[in-house]
Symmetry: C2
Subunit: 166 residues, 2 copies
C-alpha cells in the first residue's frame, strides 16, 4: 500500500552526500515529500529526515541502498506510534486592520506565534504535527494566504532511546 514513510539518516558531513542520498530516491522514481538536513552537535555529522510515499517493499529496498553509501552512518525507519513528528511552517496571511483580530484569535487557539506584521499582513509561525498544521492553514485560507515556507517534517523516537550521536 502506498503510504508515507519517515526515514532518519545520520550521515558524514562530506561534500556531495546530500546529492547522492537524494539521487538514490529520484533514480527509483521515489517522490520525496519533504527533506530536512540539520546539523548535529558533532560538526562532522548531519541528520537527514526524509518523508516519502511508497509501499513497504520499496522503502526497504531504498534503505538497503542507502546503507551501502559510504557516508551513511545509520538509518532509522519510523513506525507511526514510535516517534514524535513535528514541522515548522511560516505563513504570511492577508490581515488588514478589519480582520487582524480574527486572525490573532486563531493564532492563539493553535498556540502559534506572530513573528512579523505589516499594515496588510501577519506572518504566523506554527510548529506542530501535520494534522494541526493542515487545520490552521485551511482556516487561514479564508483570509488569503500569501506565502508559505515549510521545513519538512522532523522526527524523534519516543521514550529514552537515543543515538548518542548528537
Amino acid at each position: 500500500m502506498e503510504q508515507k514513510h519517515t526515514l532518519s539518516v545520520l550521515v558524514e558531513n562530506h561534500a556531495g552526500v546530500l546529492s547522492r542520498v537524494a539521487g538514490l530516491f529520484s533514480r527509483r522514481g521515489f517522490n520525496i515529500d519533504s527533506l530536512a538536513v540539520g546539523e548535529t552537535t558533532n560538526p562532522g555529522i548531519s541528520r537527514i529526515t526524509i518523508v516519502v510515499k511508497g509501499d513497504d517493499y520499496i522503502v526497504d529496498q531504498v534503505s538497503k541502498q542507502l546503507n551501502k553509501l559510504v557516508d551513511v552512518i545509520k538509518i532509522k525507519i519510523f513506525k507511526a506510534s514510535e516517534y514524535v513528528g513535528r514541522e515548522l511552517v511560516l505563513i504570511k496571511v492577508n490581515a488588514p486592520a478589519a480582520s487582524r483580530a480574527e486572525v490573532m484569535q486563531l493564532v492563539d487557539i493553535f498556540r502559534a506565534n506572530i513573528v512579523d506584521v505589516s499594515t496588510q499582513t501577519l506572518t504566523v509561525e506554527i510548529s506542530a504535527d501535520q494534522e494541526k498544521i493542515s487545520a490552521l492553514m485551511s482556516l487561514l485560507d479564508h483570509f488569503g494566504i500569501l506565502e508559505v515556507v515549510r521545513t519538512g517534517m522532523i522526527a524523534i523516537e519516543r521514550g529514552s532511546a537515543a543515538d548518542h550521536i548528537l
Copy 2:
C-alpha cells in the same frame, strides 16, 4: 568574507531536482550548513531553503548556475535585516526525577514545549532563531543532551511582499 547566506529557491517538483540543486553546491566545494525542502500549497512546486557559508562572489555565481536549472522557478538571497529566520529543533535531554523540574523551568523561560517524557528523559521542542536555540542547547547540555534533530533554518521576507506562489 566567509559568512552565512540564506537562499530560498522555488522549484518544480520533478524527480531529481533536489539532487541536482545539492550537486551544484557540492561540485563547487560549497558546504551546505542546512537544507530544508517543504511542500507549497501548489503540489507541483516545492521550496528549498539553503544555508551556506561562503563569500558573496561565490554565492552570486552559484545563484546564477541555479537559475540555469530548468526546474528552478525563482531564487531569493536574503540579507540579514529583510527576513525572519526560524528553525525547529527536537532535543532529548537527560531528566530523571531529581532534575526534571529544573529542565522544565528552562523550557518555560524559552517558551519551548515538552513533547515527550520518559522516566529518565524529556524531549523538548523549540522553534526560534539561531541565537536562542544555541542558548537553550548550551543550558540543556549541563543535564546531558542525548539526541538532537534539527530542521535547518527556513526564512520568510519581512513585510507584505510575497511570491504569490504559495
